[in-house]
């Protein structure tokens, strides 16, 4: 009996896809116990669409040509970077594994009405009103959320007033009002829309604290 000719062992793409989906299912299962737990369907859906996209590239001849031309060290780097970015997205975390983060911009529906926002409005010695914005006075910070803690808020306001006064020594800030601004998305017809409505939360006297 002649020995059957041996064919080289090749991993069928379908097996690879199944293995990947299985790993994703395990991850979803584990994450489902986390608090707050993500919706498994949305993750599975993203994973499946992403796999489909990546498989399309995997079998596209110019991509095959490009990858096969790569020496092994370059392939490793390529796989690590792209794999890391995808893995980072599926951690659903934007802070812990930075810069391998979850990519979410306008990810959820928002329906609040009115839209509220706290603002710090300063009054200078000449009586001018200026808005103290953390992102403008300390431009390293791209985006800042005002703290909920009143003591931390007060310390922050004094720091911002100090930085402002360093730049505007001729017209320094003397008091700061912490306001909550509100904009209605669907106001009644007789309501004014020229300015957001505002309510004073707390008044801080800066000049007396020197």
């Amino acid at each position: 009996m002649s020995k059957a000719a041996r064919t080289p062992l090749r991993l069928h793409p379908a097996i690879a896809v199944t293995a990947i989906c299985f790993c994703i299912a395990l991850l979803i299962w584990k994450l489902s116990f986390a608090d707050p737990h993500p919706i498994p369907f949305s993750i599975t859906g993203q994973a499946c669409l992403l796999i489909a996209l990546l498989l399309a590239f995997r079998y596209w001849p110019p991509m095959i040509r490009w990858v096969t031309r790569m020496p092994i060290a370059h392939r490793v780097i390529f796989a690590l970077l792209i794999g890391g970015m995808i893995a980072g997205h599926f951690t659903l975390n934007t802070r812990k594994y930075f810069p391998l983060v979850a990519w979410e911009i306008f990810p959820v529906a928002r329906e609040e009405d009115p839209v509220l926002c706290r603002e710090m409005i300063a009054t200078t010695a000449s009586g001018k009103n200026v808005r103290l914005l953390v992102e403008q006075l300390i431009p390293s910070i791209v985006q800042f959320d005002l703290p909920a803690n009143p003591d931390a808020t007060e310390r922050l306001i004094r720091v911002l007033a100090k930085i402002y006064n360093q730049k505007h020594a001729d017209d320094p800030v003397q008091q700061v009002d912490l306001m909550v601004m509100a904009v209605k998305l669907h106001p009644s017809t007789n309501e004014s829309r020229t300015q957001p409505s505002c309510e004073l939360l707390k008044h801080y006297d800066i000049s007396s604290a020197r």
């Binding site: 993500p38 919706i39 949305s42 993203q46 992403l50 590239f57 110019p62 490009w66 031309r69 020496p71 092994i72 060290a73 370059h74 490793v76 780097i77 390529f78 690590l80 970077l81 792209i82 970015m85 997205h89 934007t94 802070r95 812990k96 930075f98 810069p99 983060v101 990519w103 979410e104 306008f106 990810p107 529906a109 928002r110 329906e111 609040e112 009405d113 839209v115 808005r131 914005l133 953390v134 403008q136 006075l137 300390i138 431009p139 390293s140 910070i141 791209v142 985006q143 800042f144 959320d145 310390r155 922050l156 720091v159 930085i163 904009v183 998305l185 669907h186 106001p187 829309r193 957001p196």
Partner: protein, 300 residues
């Protein structure tokens, strides 16, 4: 027959972007990305972070691994200034192209710490993550080149054709970031993101908050029905482009629709939401296949 020809003409050539890129284009890319970071750092008074009350810091990424005392020491005006100067110095060394694998690796680590630091006082926003990853790509492939020439039997002359590897990877990361954003919005947010008041809420909220660029326009959006309609119709349209962004790698015709569409989206985000993705827009330069246009930038 005519239909298929018209369709083929519409789809245009399907070729891998930067497949023929040579060392000239890679050098220009390195120069552009490093110069972008130098410009950003020169405009940043990082030492002012030391003024912020400590209880407001919530360390991100690498910083979270450091002990609290080390973070406290870093957050002094002198340390922050020294860190800024050191990072600038290393970036300038990168421009010399000498021992690029070493200098770019140090630059990638320092820039990751810098980016973690500035995000530790607020939400971990997505601005400048792609340029940060681009520095890691340049560093990673510089090491791969080094190992391949030194130990892998590759000849330095071969490395001419290796220039496309980091370039394609950077474009893949740029496009993949859009794809992941689009997929996430589509599947996590669901249909309600596109049907309700979501875009008006985001515009009003971002406009009231302010940020560095403060156009003070977005909170008027509910008053302007046409703008509201444009934002509502625009979001599914943009999401579609985001999800299919990887097509930029293969289709020049798609790129010529993608670039103006996404540039308009980023500019409208600036006008109505005070959010400016300048860094990503800068990387759009890599969506143009320079080596096919200018043979001097090609490997052949």
């Amino acid at each position: 027959m005519r239909t298929s020809q018209a369709l083929r003409h519409l789809i245009g050539p399907i070729e891998l972007l930067h497949e023929q890129a040579g060392p000239g284009l890679l050098r220009l890319t390195r120069l552009g990305i490093v110069a972008l970071w130098i410009g950003k750092l020169l405009l940043d008074p990082l030492w002012r972070l030391a003024e912020i009350p400590r209880e407001l810091i919530s360390p991100v990424g690498l910083l979270a691994l450091l002990p609290a005392t080390a973070v406290d020491q870093l957050l002094t005006p002198s340390c922050l200034t020294a860190f800024l100067v050191l990072t600038l110095f290393v970036l300038i060394l990168c421009l010399t192209n000498r021992a690029f694998h070493l200098t770019s690796t140090v630059a990638a680590i320092l820039l990751t710490i810098y980016s973690s630091l500035i995000r530790s006082f607020g939400p971990a926003v997505h601005t400048d993550i792609v340029p940060l990853l681009a520095v890691s790509v340049l560093a990673g492939f510089a090491w791969a080149d080094y190992f391949q020439v030194k130990f892998g039997g590759g000849k330095p002359s071969q490395s001419k054709t290796w220039s496309s590897f980091p370039l394609v990877t950077i474009v893949t990361i740029l496009c993949l970031s859009y794809t992941l954003v689009g997929l996430n919005r589509m599947l996590s947010g669901g249909i309600h993101v596109f049907t309700g008041d979501t875009m008006e809420v985001w515009a009003v909220d971002a406009s009231l908050r302010g940020y560095y660029f403060n156009t003070n326009i977005g909170w008027h959006v509910p008053e302007w029905p046409l703008v509201t309609l444009m934002l509502r119709l625009g979001l599914p349209f943009i999401t579609l482009f985001e999800m299919t962004a990887l097509l930029c790698l293969v289709s020049s015709h798609y790129r010529w629709i993608f670039i103006p569409t996404m540039l308009s989206f980023h500019l409208l985000s600036l006008v109505f939401m005070n959010i400016f993705f300048f860094d990503d827009m800068f990387l759009y330069l890599l969506l143009i296949d320079w080596s096919r246009r200018y043979p001097i930038l090609s490997a052949r």
